[in-house]
């Protein structure tokens, strides 16, 4: 049987890579009887949504634009047809 520590690592890894069927089975069985890890699974989804929203709205660059200077500098460095 997997421990909460192992399951938490697998739940985290599943956000980045598909788990093997054996790992998925182990996680599902554990979640049947472990409320803490069920909450963790939901909370990991929440963290993902929250951090994306954070960057989109509160991020430093939400309405940043290239300055005219930068635009000119870049244009000068580009090849022309």
């Amino acid at each position: 049987m997997l421990s909460c520590k192992e399951v938490s690592l697998l739940l985290s890894r599943s956000r980045d890579q598909r788990l093997t069927w054996r790992e998925r089975l182990g996680v599902r069985l554990h979640l049947l009887y472990c409320e803490g890890c069920r909450r963790l699974e939901k909370q990991l989804r929440f963290l993902h949504a929250a951090v994306r929203r954070f960057v989109a709205s509160a991020g430093p660059a939400a309405d940043a634009r290239l300055s005219e200077d930068a635009r000119r500098r870049i244009r000068d460095a580009l090849p022309r047809d």
């Binding site: 520590k5 890894r13 963290l47 949504a49 994306r52 500098r73 870049i74 580009l78 090849p79």
Partner: protein
């Protein structure tokens, strides 16, 4: 006015001659988007500008490989993403972040040593979606993000925000997949705990 129209209206006549398939045209149509994408990830305006320039030059050299105009911006963003990965890798070499400790006491202490069970069971978070609407929550969220160890935070941002795959993360962080996953695990559990202690725990009946 849409942003593209605004940009074109701002431009002197000779600059409008370019079509959308040459670098100057790309700069006009997508420059701000590329810049924002880069700035959100490198934080430094001058570096972000350089990345936009590198991207447009690389796109120019690779333009024979590009077919179909509808996804022009997507194509440019993909090139920018590669430039960003190169850049992050370079800057990691020049100023390496401290290696993630082999042991992370904060995360290790969340689990009982003998059986790996939660020492303190994660609480049920009440109304997490409501939190997203509250300015006070975002202050705490930012503080919790900033409290992450630098390397964990970098891995976390690259995975959650930029959607880098494990392979790409390994390249940027120059680490084995298992180490990348351990870093991400630690970042997520630390962030989770921080939010629980400083926000959700206060409102929850489970504690």
């Amino acid at each position: 006015m849409n942003p593209l129209a605004e940009v074109i209206a701002d431009m002197p006549d000779d600059a409008t001659r370019g079509t959308l398939s040459d670098p100057a045209g790309w700069l006009d149509a997508h420059g701000d988007s590329l810049y924002r994408f880069a700035l959100q990830r490198v934080r430094d305006p001058a570096t972000a500008e350089d990345l936009v320039q590198e991207t447009l030059l690389a796109a120019w050299h690779a333009k024979s490989k590009f077919a179909g105009k509808s996804a022009e911006r997507t194509w440019l963003i993909a090139i920018l993403k590669n430039k960003l990965i190169d850049h992050l890798r370079r800057s990691r070499r020049e100023a390496p972040l401290p290696d993630a400790d082999i042991a992370d006491e904060v995360v290790d202490s969340m689990f009982a040593e003998h059986n790996g069970h939660w020492v303190r069971t994660p609480a049920a978070w009440s109304r997490p979606d409501d939190a997203l609407e509250q300015a006070e929550f975002w202050k705490i969220f930012q503080a919790c993000l900033e409290a992450l160890p630098a390397r964990h935070a970098q891995a976390f941002n690259l995975s959650e925000i930029d959607g880098l795959t494990t392979d790409e993360l390994c390249k940027v962080l120059e680490a084995q997949p298992s180490n990348v996953w351990v870093m991400l695990h630690r970042a997520r559990l630390r962030l989770r705990e921080c939010l629980e202690l400083r926000w959700f725990g206060l409102a929850s009946e489970n504690r």
